[in-house]
């Protein structure tokens, strides 16, 4: 099956990758084997092919032996295809005459039997050598990059990325699904380890976003569709109705006072349900934008239509519009940053801790509001029945590091538990018990913070808590919550009676992470967090070019890390924008017009809407810029009219032949 053409001169290179490959594959044997294959002029092994000397080896050989095809057997092309393509091009050869064989992830890393792994490497190498003979010279297409950026999610990550880009002079659309930006950080009282006030450092940034001439802020909005490709995305945003004309409202709150409900009676989302709000409300005093909204689920007007609409009458700016409908916006952007954050673990899923059953069991987020000076109790620590707690137990790792719930460490709970211990002690003077499995404080100044807490008369008990109950055995336990735990330092089971329990809930992927993943065509890790292209070398890239991730949507993260990552994502977006254009992979499909019968089967098959039908000619045609090279249309074409660069029939068939026939 190999092409009969004496002009073909193949250079073959196999990488040891230290012990990664050479430990399992006999690279010398593969080198000798490849040397005997047809048209192989040079066959070499080298310890690290991706290193500079490794690349120079290829370039030198190309010039010296007039090589016109290169095969590199090494790691995944995701990691180094570009490296070797560039090396090939530097020597004056078209970069698509290079074929990579993955003998690391696909061979050495997944096998232990050296003989069999070597045999497999030989098969894979033979297939590549068969295929490379059919390679054609291709050119990468270049498309301009739209300089505008869309950022999804207005927490601290989204805010940071938006301001960085806007300050660099780029136009930014910041889309937030909640009525206000700020995210979880806006709910926190203090931040660890410096104990500076979260609102004091966050709210100036929130107003900077609102007032920045380069930022368009769309709160209470969601992205419903994304089309296009790197540099040229078309995004559809649906703005949910607030029933208030945003530009008219100045946040004077007259409407809220005038609401037919004299008393607030609905769960206040911002205060985690510890206080109440009216159907017409502002999430919190520093909300950005400072615009009221109406919750149709609780508003009498929407429920019965029998409301005097006193709120609208109280508004002297005529900002009310009860007939508002969802508004659809379409914008074109070049790059997208996803910073959609996380959701806290729902402790109802760990019923043995009594959340929802005993009123004095709280989540950490509820405590953040409780100790907050602008929270529901003005910062006074009182239980739900209004008593001042004398003793408080903080249970770490609720929903984290647990086979039954979330397996991962949530990274922030140790530190925020320490912080809450400090704040609760400060506000209430109560005895505080921290129940931990391991104390994990790896951050700048974090260990010192832990040390500080150790000297603040806070008790630390090592052991996973088994249960929180109201099961009193003795008189002094009555009316208390009992924490049962094995104290692994002294090896006994203890019962600790407390007045208040704080569950340090872990972090998990956002509720709508899967929907966002689908809309933006990116991947998620097993846990459901967005997957980065490389955990170390490309932590803000996704596998979709032009789409970046930042903050806790990628994995549990504290504020400093979220901010740092947001900056990195903004920098990567800027790099794309300022380059002005991007090169597209040429592995796109194309239609031989004469063979196309106009059946349009391919149009329905294409997941990227890259194929259109020309009714006049009765032929289909492919937009190369939209084509992602998935090959679905090629396989579906009954007339055999569609082909794909880099995956021509003869290339694939020869490769199959190569892998099967020795």
């Amino acid at each position: 099956m190999i092409k009969k053409n004496d002009e073909i001169k193949i250079g073959f290179y196999i990488c040891h990758c230290g012990h990664n490959i050479a430990g399992t594959v006999d690279v010398v044997a593969v080198t000798e084997y490849a040397a005997r294959l047809p048209y192989v002029t040079v066959s070499r092994d080298y310890k690290y092919m991706c290193s500079d000397p490794g690349q120079e080896l290829i370039q030198k050989d190309i010039k010296e032996f007039n090589l016109n095809r290169i095969v590199v057997a090494s790691c995944s092309p995701l990691l180094h295809e570009n490296t070797f393509r560039t090396a090939t091009a530097k020597a004056g050869l078209n970069q698509f005459y290079m074929q990579m064989v993955n003998i690391r992830e696909n061979d050495s890393w997944v096998h232990t039997d050296k003989d069999m792994a070597t045999l497999k490497a030989k098969d894979l190498v033979r297939a590549a050598i068969h295929r490379v003979a059919y390679h054609k010279a291709l050119e990468k297409k270049s498309v301009p990059v739209n300089p505008d950026v869309m950022i999804l999610g207005g927490g601290i990550s989204g805010i940071t990325a938006a301001l960085t880009l806007a300050n660099a002079g780029k136009k930014v659309y910041l889309v937030e699904k909640e009525p206000t930006i700020g995210g979880y950080m806006a709910k926190f009282d203090k931040t660890f380890p410096t104990l500076d006030c979260a609102a004091c450092i966050l709210t100036p940034k929130m107003s900077a976003v609102k007032n920045h001439p380069n930022i368009t802020l769309w709160s209470y909005s969601e992205v419903s569709n994304v089309e296009g490709y790197v540099g040229n995305y078309k995004v559809t945003v649906t703005r949910k109705p607030r029933y208030i004309i945003e530009d008219q409202c100045v946040g004077c709150l007259a409407c809220i006072d005038a609401c037919i409900f004299k008393e607030a009676k609905f769960k206040d989302e911002f205060n985690e349900g510890l206080s109440k709000r009216k159907p017409v409300y502002i999430p919190f005093p520093q909300a950005t934008p400072l615009v009221v909204l109406i919750d149709p689920a609780t508003c009498i007007h929407f429920k019965t239509g029998k409301c005097p609409q006193s709120c609208a009458k109280a508004c002297d700016r005529n900002a009310f519009d009860f007939n508002q409908k969802p508004e659809v916006k379409e914008v074109e952007v070049g790059t997208i940053i996803l910073s959609t954050g996380f959701q806290p673990f729902d402790p109802h899923k760990a019923p043995y801790y009594g959340y929802g059953k005993y009123p004095n069991v709280y989540t950490s987020l509820e405590i953040e509001r409780l100790v907050n000076a602008s929270g529901p109790t003005d910062g006074h620590v009182v239980t739900r029945d209004g008593k001042e707690p004398k003793s408080i137990g903080i249970i770490h790792c609720v929903g984290s590091r647990d086979e039954k719930t979330n397996k991962w460490c949530s990274r922030v709970c140790c530190m925020y538990s320490l912080k809450l211990a400090h704040l609760l002690k400060e506000h209430s003077g109560a005895e505080i018990y921290n129940f931990y499995i391991d104390m994990r404080t790896p951050g700048k100044g974090y260990e010192e913070f832990y040390d500080k807490l150790l000297n603040e008369d806070v008790h630390f008990i090592r052991g996973r808590v088994a249960e929180v109950s109201d099961w009193a055995i003795s008189k002094d336990e009555e009316g208390k919550l009992l924490i049962r735990v094995e104290d692994t330092m002294i090896g006994v089971v203890r019962r600790i009676p407390v007045d208040m329990v704080v569950l340090a809930v872990g972090l998990e992927p956002g509720k709508d992470a899967q929907d966002i993943r689908r809309i933006f065509n990116i991947s998620c890790s097993n846990e459901g967090f967005f997957l980065e292209r490389h955990p170390k070398l490309a932590p803000v890239h996704t596998f979709t070019d032009g789409i970046f991730i930042a903050g806790a949507c990628q994995g549990p993260k504290d504020i400093p890390d979220s901010v740092a990552q947001a900056g990195a994502a903004a920098a990567e977006a800027l790099a794309l924008i300022d380059a002005g254009h991007v090169e597209l992979e040429p592995n796109t499909a194309y239609i031989i017009e004469e063979r196309c019968c106009g059946c349009q089967v391919c149009i329905n098959m294409c997941p990227y809407k890259a194929i259109t039908f020309n009714a006049e000619k009765s032929k289909s045609s492919i937009n190369e810029a939209l084509c992602k090279g998935c090959g679905t249309c090629v396989a579906s074409c009954g007339s055999g009219a569609i082909f794909q660069n880099l995956f021509d029939d003869e290339e694939i068939l020869s490769e199959i032949h190569g892998v099967l026939v020795e």
């Binding site: 019923p351 043995y352 009594g354 059953k357 249960e467 109950s469 109201d470 099961w471 009193a472 055995i473």
Partner: protein, 286 residues
């Protein structure tokens, strides 16, 4: 649906009140069951740690007999029997090697088994199949205001049964409420009754039972309901000893949930075995 009934050793001896009351209640609700012929021990013994194949084998024999008799579902009232049968079913369906060994042993006795028969606890049957409405309709003597602590024990719903919530089981509570009683919510409803420790380490066993009974009492319970003969035995029989050991008078009727159903259905005391109880359960029916 043909229900075959696996009583296990307890329901024929120390827990005979459970059998009496269960069958009377079934009769009242028009549930017909047929006892498995020639059944043997359910295997809830230490046999498992000595020879796994034989231990599973003797339990599998009961499954084979039930299938041979044409049963669609086995009703197993004892928590240990119920779990033993479920465990065996799980082992043979998930491990082909165990299945092969067990089938080989069964063949020696002329039996064969598909292991497709469903195993059900009466609580599951009554609540999820017969239904709470049918139970309500059968009540002639509503237990107005009686405060009931429903005790499920550790084994009935853990680790492999699926008919109720593991941490906060509700089936027995639903039945008690249908009878007109009030139920107390308590954290000890799934705590261990100490199993056989009442005989091997009596001090610890007594303490565990004391805590359960005391907590039920302090929450105002007038009766503790059980769905397992060992739980019932442990909680009821040592009350005198417990009272002396902890110097606190613990007197608490502990009865099978089927007995309370029988009382509410107006079934005669003797048919429910009430006269055979050690704690004064009889008073409740008056």
């Amino acid at each position: 649906m043909k229900y075959v009934y696996f009583p296990g050793c307890s329901l024929k001896s120390s827990g005979m009140q459970y059998e009496k009351s269960l069958l009377s209640v079934f009769k009242k609700l028009n549930v017909t069951v047929e006892e498995i012929e020639d059944w043997n021990c359910c295997g809830a013994t230490n046999y498992m740690s000595i020879n796994e194949t034989y231990a599973i084998g003797i339990t599998a024999r009961n499954l084979a007999l039930a299938e041979k008799q044409g049963g669609d579902e086995i009703i197993a009232p004892c928590a240990a029997c119920y779990m033993g049968l479920l465990k065996t079913q799980n082992y043979v369906s998930s491990d082909p090697e165990i299945r092969q060994n067990v089938c080989k042993e069964l063949t020696k006795t002329g039996l064969s088994c598909q292991f497709k028969i469903k195993i059900r606890h009466p609580l599951d049957l009554l609540v999820n199949i017969i239904g709470i409405d049918a139970i309500k309709n059968a009540v002639t003597n509503p237990l107005k205001g009686l405060k009931v602590a429903n005790y499920y024990g550790c084994q009935l719903i853990r680790p492999i049964s699926t008919f109720d919530d593991v941490y906060n089981p509700q089936t027995m509570d639903k039945i008690a409420k249908a009878l007109g009683a009030q139920t107390i919510d308590w954290p000890l409803k799934t705590r261990c009754c100490s199993g056989s420790m009442t005989s091997t380490m009596p001090d610890i066993g007594a303490r565990m039972n004391f805590e359960i009974l005391k907590d039920a009492k302090s929450r105002g319970a007038e009766v503790v309901l059980t769905a397992c003969p060992l739980c019932q035995f442990n909680l009821e029989c040592f009350q005198g000893k417990i009272s002396r050991q902890f110097r606190e008078n613990i007197k608490m009727p502990v009865m099978y949930f089927t007995q309370l159903m029988g009382i509410a259905f107006g079934i005669k005391e003797k048919e429910l075995g009430l006269h055979q109880m050690l704690s004064p359960a009889l008073e409740l029916s008056l």
